[in-house]
Symmetry: C2
Subunit: 463 residues, 2 copies
C-alpha cells in the first residue's frame, strides 16, 4: 500500500505542502475539544512525529475521539504549514481510519517510564522516543561500519559462532549441544560421550572471530568480521551482556601504527556518519540523556588521538595513585578509573596506550624486543575509557609456539593458526570494537541492556 | 606500511605506468631461467594477479629463485605495460624481499585441487582462485543487502541468537547451556533443573529472528534482521548447514503485494551490485564453475517476475505428474523438481507462488478468506528453485490465537507476539532469504560447504 513516510514529509516538505497525503502510523497521544481534536502520530521512519488535526465533519469523529494511545491509523488529509507552532506543519485530516485498535491497558501511556520498567516490555519499548533513537542509531552505526570497511576494500568474513576451540581463553563459554540432558550419554570411563554430540566433539559459542579472521587476512590482506559473540560470565553489571556484537578488522602487511591509524579513522567516520544521519536523535540524547554528548563527540572528531606507551602511562598514573581506588605499578592492568583519568584529565582527547606487559595480554600478541612487552594497543576515549583493544599479532612461528606452551594451550587445536606462520606469514594487526560499547558511547546510554533490542544477561532470556 | 594494492594498479593503471611501486603479496607461482624469473603475485585485493619479473642483477637473485609457492614477499619495481602479453602490465623488480617464507609442503601447489580436499584446509582455501572469488562475492552480497535496505530507510535490528522459545517449531534446535554435563543438576522429580542454568531456564540457538523483527516493525515500520541462524538437523546434504546466515525484512502497513515487490527489487539490486563490483569473479564463475550463470542472472535482472497461486501451480504440475519423482495434488508441498519445472520450463523466469494451503505453512501466516489457504509466497528462480519464502502475517489477535491453539503451541510463551495484535496491530509482511542459498545462486557453487568460510555440518566443526 502506498503511504507517504513522515521522514519524507520532513525531508521534502516543499513538495508536499498544501497537497493531499496519506500516512500510516501509531498514535502517541490524542486529545479533543468539542469540534476537533489532535493526534500526535509516529510512523517509525522519523524521530519527529506528525501532528494530525481532525474535525467533526468526519463521519467517525466520535469514534476517533475515543481511540486509545497506541492505535494504528491511516490518515488522509492536506499538509499545511504551521509557522506559528512548534512543529513546522500538520495534517488537516479528511479521514482517519483505524488499522488496528489499541486498548486502555496499553503499557506505554504518555507518562515517562523508567528504563527498568521498559526493559520488561522489550517488544514495546522501541515505540518510545528514547528507544526509537537508540535503535535507529544502532542501525546506522552498524551500516557506517560496513560502509567504512567496504569503501576501503576490506572483505567481510562471517567467522563461525559455533566453535570447537576456546580462542584465547577469553572467558567463560556457553556449551552448544544436542545431547539428551535428561540422560547424558557416557563413555566407558564414565565421562560425557561427546562423540555422540552433533559435531562429534565438545562445542561452544565463540568469544571472538579473530583467529579465523587472521586466516582470511592472509588471503585477502584486509578483512573484517562483524557478528555476535558470547560470554557466559556471571557478571550482573551495566556493561556486560551474555550476547553482544563485535567488530574485528584484521590486516596483513600491517603493524601497530597501521592498526592505530585504522582505528582512529574508523571512529571518526562512524561518529560523523551518525551525526549527519541522525541529527534529531543525537540532539535528543544530548538534551535528555547525556548533556555533554555532542561536545564530546565533536571533540573526538576534531582531535588527533594521542599516543603513549603503557610504561609512560604508569609513570603518569603512579604520581596520582592517591586518587585511585586501585593503585597502579608496572605490571598491573589499567582499570577504567585510570583509563578515564588519562584520556579525560591528562590528554583531554582520545589516546592510544601501547606496549603492555605480555603477562596481562593475550598469547597471540607480537612480542617486543624488550622481552617484557607486547605490541598491544588500547584506545581510550573520554567518558568511557577503553573502547577498542588491538594488537600486532605474533607472526613468528617459533615465538608463537613457545608462548602458547608457556601459557599452557593445547597446540594440537591450533594447528591451523600455526600454519598461518608457516606458509607466507606476514606482519599483521587488528583490533576488536565492542559494538554495544560503541553505541553506549555514541548515545550516552549507560546500561548495555538499553542498547540491545532483546538483551541476554544472567537469568534473563525473555522474548 | 605503505604498499600499493594490486586492485589500485588495475583500476588506476595510467597513474602508475612507468612509476616505481611497492606491492606486497603471496607467490602463486614462480619459475626462473638463468638470468631472470617470473613471479605470479596475488595480494588478495583483486582477483587478477600481478606478474613480477626479477633479474640476476638483484643481490638475492639466487635466493629468490628458490622461494616456495605461498611465500609472502614485498616487491619494489617499475610498472611497465606489456601490450603483447596476456596481462596488461608487469613489474620489473628492483628488489624482492621475503616477508614470510613458505615451505615445499605448502598444500596449495599449482595443480588444481578438488573442492573436497580444499574443505579440509578451510584456513588456506581462500588463497585459491575459486575461493577468493566466492568469498569476495559473499562480502559484496552482504554489503549490497545492507545498502539496499538502508537506502530505503529500513532499520537493521540485531535479533537475539540465544532464545527461550522455538519460534515456529521450524526445526531441531541446539541447546545452549552452562550446566555441568558430567553431573547435570536434577530437580526433586528427577528432571534437569534448568533453574540452575545460566538464564534460569531452557535456552537454544534461534532458527529465525522473524518474531522479534515483527515487534520492531510495529515500531519502526520497515526493519530487517541479518544474522546467523541454526538448525540441528541431521541432514548431510549439499544444501544444509548447521549454522548459516539469514536475512529477514519485515514491513508494517504492507501486504503480500508489497512483500513481492520488495523481494523482486532486492534480488535485482543484489545481482546488479555483484555484477558491477565483481566482474572478474563473475566471469570466472561463468567460465569455470557454471557455464550458464551470467545469462541466467542477466535474465533475472531484466525479467518481470511472474505470479501464480499455489492452486494454479498444482493444476499446471498435475498434468505433468509423469515426469516427477514426487506426484503432486492439492495439499502437497512443492519439491525442488516441481519448483524448477515451473520457473525453468513453464515461465522461464523467476516466479512468485502464492496462497499455499495453511496446513503446509507456519502458524503466523495470514489466513485467507477461503478458510483453506494462507497469504504465503515463495519466490522460485531458475537453476535453484525456492530462494525466498515469505508471507503476510496474521494480524488478527483472535485468529492468530485460534491457529496457535490448533497447532498446539504454548500460548504463554508468545504473549509478546500476541501483544503486537492487541496494541495497534497493522497488516504486515516479510520474508526470509537464506544467505548461503543466495550466494550459491550468484556464484553457481553447488555445495553450501563451499560458500561458508568455516562450515558447520553434522560431525564437522573444524577450526
Amino acid at each position: 500500500m502506498k503511504l507517504t513516510e513522515i521522514r519524507d514529509l520532513y525531508e521534502n516538505r516543499e513538495a508536499y505542502l498544501d497537497q493531499k497525503v496519506t500516512v500510516g502510523g501509531w498514535i502517541r497521544s490524542i486529545r479533543d475539544s468539542k469540534t476537533f481534536g489532535f493526534i500526535v502520530l509516529n510512523d517509525g521512519t522519523f524521530f519527529e512525529p506528525l501532528q494530525v488535526v481532525y474535525h467533526d465533519k468526519m463521519d467517525n469523529f466520535a469514534q476517533v475521539c475515543k481511540l486509545n494511545v497506541g492505535t494504528a491509523v491511516i490518515v488522509t488529509g492536506t499538509l499545511v504549514a504551521t509557522p506559528q507552532a512548534k512543529q513546522p506543519f500538520e495534517i488537516q485530516a479528511d479521514s482517519v481510519e483505524v488499522e488496528g485498535a489499541s486498548s486502555p491497558d496499553y503499557p506505554l501511556q504518555k507518562k515517562r517510564h523508567s528504563f527498568e520498567y521498559l526493559r520488561t516490555i522489550s517488544h514495546l519499548r522501541p515505540r518510545t522516543n528514547t528507544f526509537q533513537a537508540v535503535f535507529r542509531v544502532r542501525s546506522l552505526t552498524a551500516y557506517a561500519l560496513h560502509k567504512f570497511f567496504q569503501e576501503r576494500g576490506f572483505v567481510y568474513v562471517h567467522t563461525p559462532l559455533i566453535t570447537g576451540s576456546d580462542c584465547e581463553g577469553a572467558g567463560e563459554m556457553f556449551r552448544v549441544t544436542t545431547l539428551d540432558m535428561e540422560n547424558v550419554p557416557k563413555t566407558e570411563e564414565g565421562h560425557v560421550d561427546y562423540s555422540k554430540d552433533f559435531f562429534g566433539k565438545e562445542t561452544s559459542l565463540t568469544v571472538s572471530g579473530q583467529l579465523n579472521a587472521e586466516a582470511y587476512a592472509q588471503a585477502f590482506r584486509n578483512v573484517y568480521t562483524f557478528g555476535p559473540t558470547f560470554r557466559a560470565e556471571n557478571s550482573n553489571t551495566t556493561r556486560h551482556a551474555a550476547e553482544f556484537w563485535m567488530l574485528e578488522p584484521e590486516m596483513a602487511f600491517a603493524d601497530l601504527e597501521d592498526d592505530m591509524m585504522l582505528a582512529e579513522a574508523m571512529l571518526k567516520y562512524v561518529i560523523n556518519y551518525v551525526l549527519e544521519h541522525a541529527p534529531e536523535e543525537m540532539n535528543f540524547f544530548n538534551s535528555f540523556v547525556d548533556k555533554g554528548l555532542l561536545d564530546r563527540l565533536h571533540n573526538v572528531v576534531s582531535s588527533e588521538f594521542a599516543k603513549i606507551t603503557y610504561t609512560e602511562a604508569i609513570e603518569l598514573l603512579e604520581k596520582e595513585n592517591d586518587r585511585f581506588e586501585y593503585k597502579v605499578s608496572w605490571g598491573t592492568d589499567l582499570q577504567t578509573e585510570h583509563e578515564r583519568y588519562l584520556t579525560e584529565e591528562v590528554f583531554k582527547r582520545p589516546i592510544f596506550v601501547t606496549d603492555y606487559p605480555k603477562e596481562i595480554k593475550a598469547f597471540y600478541m607480537k612480542q617486543n624486543d624488550d622481552g617484557k612487552t607486547v605490541a598491544a594497543v588500547d584506545c581510550l576515549v573520554p567518558g568511557i575509557g577503553e573502547i577498542i583493544g588491538g594488537s600486532q599479532r605474533e607472526d613468528d612461528h617459533d615465538k608463537l609456539l613457545a608462548r602458547m606452551r608457556e601459557v599452557g594451550m593445547k597446540e594440537e587445536e591450533y594447528g591451523f593458526y600455526l600454519d598461518l606462520r608457516k606458509y607466507g606469514s606476514t606482519r599483521h594487526a587488528g583490533f576488536g570494537l565492542g559494538f554495544e560499547r560503541c553505541i553506549m558511547y555514541l548515545t550516552g546510554m549507560s546500561n548495555i541492556r538499553d542498547v540491545i533490542p532483546f538483551p541476554r544477561t544472567v537469568n534473563n532470556c525473555d522474548l
